[in-house]
């Protein structure tokens, strides 16, 4: 589909895809650092850009059942984390609509 450019973020600390350095999110958008993914540490972000979302699936996480979708860098199609669509436990509801990016799959770009 046509030529379209990646979104470029404007801040002092930007996280990008480890593979191709495409901007993904700001340091300021981190909501929590207390997550673990398949590759180790992961952060919960408020918004991310330049990603494409996969189909939603139900997964059992350490915190309970959730519906999540994997997100990948739109430039190189490498998976970078996932997005929470729905949390079955009420206490986990704060995650809905937010994104997890795995620290292993990110680099600092500036």
């Amino acid at each position: 589909m046509g030529l379209s450019y990646n979104v470029y973020l404007n801040s002092s600390r930007i996280y990008g895809c480890k593979n191709c350095k495409t901007h993904l999110s700001n340091y300021d958008d981190i909501l929590s650092r207390n997550f673990r993914g398949q590759h180790g540490k992961a952060y919960l972000f408020n918004t991310v850009v330049n990603i494409s979302e996969a189909e939603p699936v139900e997964r059992n996480m350490t915190t309970g059942r959730h519906i999540v979708r994997d997100i990948s860098c739109r430039q190189c199609n490498e998976i970078v984390g996932w997005k929470y669509d729905k949390a079955y436990e009420a206490s986990e509801g704060y995650k809905e609509g937010k994104f997890i990016l795995e620290a292993e799959l990110l680099v600092n770009v500036r």
């Binding site: 589909m1 046509g2 030529l3 379209s4 450019y5 990646n6 470029y8 404007n10």
Partner: protein, 835 residues
């Protein structure tokens, strides 16, 4: 420009017009003193005799007729002025005599002379005698005149008198203090030349007096002193008006005054004359060479193709890039081509050999755009990595502008400016020579493309998401001049260009697959051109041919648009007609979907308009009229189901078509060989087109191969639905008719509600609900009339298989079918086991 006044008649008439200010009174009636008194000074200046001598005329002249609705006096005076402008003084004089109008009253002439000769006091007196516009600032006019006087005095170094003028004449007028100060500072000038330079004034001997006169005359009532070159300015307005109305204006020539100017739509490139399909992925860029002989296209397939426009064949395939091509630029002399790519490199190619001369790899992200300096010795590349780099032809970087992530950039043709648009929705304009930034401006939306006009004065921006329009800006001020809307542009890069002779048009691609063209002068949408499927990414106009432009799209095609070629009528396609009987075996059946519904909303309108029969070919030709709704996408050879009979169109026009009926068709169907000559009602038929791929399947597959005809033996109502009972002519078809099965009657798929069979007789019944009754002609048939019948083909296939297994041939003869053989084998086996 002195015009002699001959006779008092003309004076009086001029005075008349001078007083009224308008020229409504075309009568040149000579008036008496009363009239003369209305004009100050005027009468004092009359030559010679008094108005009394006007009475020597025996009778007042009759009012002269108007010139086709225009005031005769106005026209004549304007013509006189034009003659004088053109230099035909003698003719002007003769015209004045003959028409008895003068261009200017004597007062005006004297005033003119006074100004031109520097007789300032006299000029001032006369100025008050002339009719001045009410809203004119008299003080300003006086100031101007006295300023001229002052400057002229300084020029001859008469400083004391100049000072006197300044004090006593200029100051009391209460004009701006700054002006007074600047004038007084001019007194310090050493020489006349210095004065002229400082004041931007060319001296008494130059044009300054003329200019003064022009300025003054603007404030004098137009009828007294006609604005200069009035005819020329009127004609100019007419031309502008015609040009602005001409939507397809595609020439640079000024229109002739002999005819009303109007450009024909057929002279505008509206149709696709070539489609270039060599690219293997979306084409993102297209540009014509500056000499208009070649075309370069860049694609997501990583290649650039250079085409020859004579035969539209590729000359070079440039394949060195390892990323999609985002941008291309021919050098000003067309000897080189620059390509920008998502592989973060820009490459310089030789267009004659197709080889890569240089690769510029300094960028750290996609190279988005490039532009040549007009001398072809340097070029700029821009990238979203925040840098714009100026290179020389050796691939050495000369200068870098840092800061903006650039989507597109241009260098003006005069080499003065570099303009770029960035991701932060800003326009940046730099001075290309000094490389300093001139200004930047917030655009309020993302712009994906910037183009510059040939005269280097205007830039055209494509605005994307949220704004979705094109904007024309003045490059010096950055202010919006005009908007052009209609395109769709949400997510992707869509590009634009100027085009047409004299760049009369603005063209853009769009995400809705159309190419949009507007008139640059007034923003009117000229054309929306469909053709591409998918986004039209880029457009380019041939710089040397105003009738050709190109567009590149996501559908991997590059379309060349030009003036419409001779229209090719669809009807002229060659096809051979085949009678129905020969078509049946072997050929693919034309499946027509029957759902009880006809395409045509008005069943009354389709009637056989004529039937002709040819004895030699034994073929009957049917013509059906009023079929425009179903002929919209018809082609020769298409199948149309006529009363359930699949027939081939042998010819068609906008709303009629003809089909041929073979003897077999005539045997099997209800079509008459000829129309009953005295029938008051036309013979009506059901018509349906063949099924297309995207419809809902609500009936059963009907082939349009009629099996037999049946007659209506009974018709009765069951509430509002009507039940028809049919009896077939050939009883064999009863085998295939089952209750709740399908039968196609006159081409309409109907459910069988009841079946009756017995010795040598059979019938079935169908029920037609209200809706069906409206839609098909069968509902209107009466007992005794015939219908075409096609039974469900599946029944026939099943029957044949069963007969094969049972060993009974079609004619009932036992032939030791499969079942029998199986039984035989089993029996033999059992028997042999027993032994």
């Amino acid at each position: 420009m002195r015009i002699e006044n001959n006779g008092l008649n003309s004076q009086a008439s001029v005075a008349d017009s001078g007083r009224s200010g308008t020229n409504g009174a075309s009568s040149a009636a000579v008036e008496t003193n009363g009239n003369g008194a209305g004009v100050r000074n005027g009468s004092g200046k009359l030559e010679g005799g008094s108005t009394a001598s006007s009475f020597t005329m025996l009778a007042p002249p009759t009012p002269k007729p108007s010139y086709f609705g225009h005031d005769r006096e106005e026209i004549t005076r304007i013509v006189i002025q034009s003659l004088v402008d053109l230099g035909y003084h003698k003719a002007a004089r003769v015209l004045e005599e003959e028409s008895e109008y003068t261009l200017e009253s004597p007062e005006v002439s004297e005033f003119r002379d006074a100004v031109l000769q520097g007789q300032w006091n006299k000029a001032e007196e006369l100025l008050f005698g002339l009719e001045i516009n009410k809203d004119a600032d008299v003080n300003a006019l006086l100031f101007y005149m006295r300023q001229q006087k002052f400057l002229e005095l300084l020029e001859v170094a008469d400083v004391s008198r100049a000072l006197h003028v300044l004090r006593t004449e200029l100051t009391p007028l209460n004009q701006s203090v700054e002006k007074l100060h600047s004038l007084s500072s001019l007194m310090m000038c050493i020489s006349a030349d210095d004065l002229k330079a400082r004041a931007e004034w060319d001296g008494a001997a130059g044009m300054s007096r003329q200019q003064l006169l022009s300025e003054l005359s603007k404030s004098i009532s137009a009828s007294v002193m006609i604005p200069e070159h009035r005819l020329a300015s009127l004609l100019h307005q007419v031309k502008q008006n015609q040009l602005s109305k001409c939507l397809y204006h595609n020439t640079a020539n000024s229109p002739s005054l002999y005819t009303d100017h109007h450009c024909d739509r057929n002279q505008f490139p509206l149709s696709t004359v070539e489609i270039l399909t060599d690219h293997k992925d979306e084409v993102w860029f297209v540009q014509f060479s500056n000499d208009g002989t070649r075309l370069a296209t860049g694609s997501k397939d990583f290649t650039v193709i250079v085409w020859d426009l004579e035969d539209f064949q590729p000359i070079h395939h440039l394949k060195d890039h390892t990323g999609a091509i985002t941008y291309l630029r021919w050098s000003p002399d067309d000897s080189k081509l620059l390509s920008c790519s998502q592989d973060k490199q820009a490459k310089l190619w030789d267009t004659t050999t197709g080889g890569c001369i240089r690769t510029m790899s300094a960028h750290t992200d996609w190279v988005s755009s490039c532009a040549w300096a007009p001398d072809g010795q340097t070029f700029v590349t821009g990238s979203v990595d925040k840098e714009m780099i100026l290179w020389n032809l050796y691939g050495e970087s000369i200068h870098t502008w840092t800061g903006a992530r650039v989507y597109d950039l241009v260098v003006t043709a005069d080499g003065a400016r570099l303009a770029a648009v960035c991701t932060q929705m800003k326009l940046h304009v730099f001075n290309f020579v000094t490389r300093e930034k001139e200004y930047e401006r917030d655009l309020g939306g993302v712009s994906t493309c910037i183009s510059v006009s040939k005269d280097s004065r205007y830039i055209l921006l494509n605005m994307g998401a949220g704004v979705q329009e094109l904007r024309l800006l003045n490059i010096e001020t950055g202010a919006d001049v005009r908007h052009f809307s209609g395109t769709k542009q949400e997510e992707f890069v869509v590009r634009n260009c100027f085009g047409g002779a004299d760049e009369n048009f603005v063209v853009s691609g769009s995400e809705d697959s159309n190419v949009y063209v507007w008139r640059k002068e007034n923003g009117a949408l000229v054309e929306v051109l469909p053709g591409h499927s998918g986004i039209v990414n880029c457009v380019a106009w041939n710089p040397t041919n105003p009738y050709m432009f190109a567009s590149a799209g996501d559908d991997r095609n590059v379309r060349i648009w030009s003036k419409a070629p001779q229209p090719q009528l669809k009807e002229q396609r060659e096809t051979t007609v085949q009678p129905i009987a020969k078509r049946d075996p072997g050929c693919l059946p034309e499946l027509s979907k029957q759902s009880g519904q006809l395409i045509l909303p008005f069943p009354c309108q389709l009637a056989i308009s004529s039937i002709t029969h040819s004895e030699t070919t034994q073929t009957t030709t049917l013509t059906i009229a009023g079929a425009a709704p179903i002929l919209t996408d018809a082609h020769l050879g298409d199948s149309i189901s006529v009363n359930g009979t699949c027939l081939t169109i042998t010819s068609f026009t906008r709303d009629t078509f003809t089909v041929d009926l073979s003897p077999e068709t005539l045997r099997r169907t209800t079509f008459p060989q000829s129309l009953p000559s005295s029938s008051p009602n036309p013979v009506q038929v059901n018509l349906e087109r063949a099924v297309s791929g995207d419809v809902r399947f609500g009936g059963h597959f009907v082939q349009g191969h009629v099996d037999t005809i049946a007659s209506i033996v009974d018709r009765r109502s069951d509430g509002s639905p009507v039940v028809f009972r049919f009896k077939p002519r050939d009883m064999e078809v009863m085998k295939y008719v089952v209750e709740k099965g399908y039968v196609a009657v006159d081409g309409a798929s109907l459910t069988v509600v009841a079946v009756g069979e017995g010795e040598d007789q059979g019938w079935w019944e169908v029920m037609l609900v209200d809706y069906t009754q409206e839609k098909i002609i069968t509902a209107r048939k009466q007992v005794g009339e015939n219908v075409n019948v096609e039974v469900d083909i599946t029944g026939k296939y099943i029957e044949k298989q069963v007969l094969a297994y049972l060993g009974a041939g079609d004619d009932g003869e036992g032939r030791g079918g499969l079942l029998e053989r199986v039984v035989e084998r089993v029996v033999e086996r059992k028997l042999s086991e027993r032994k």
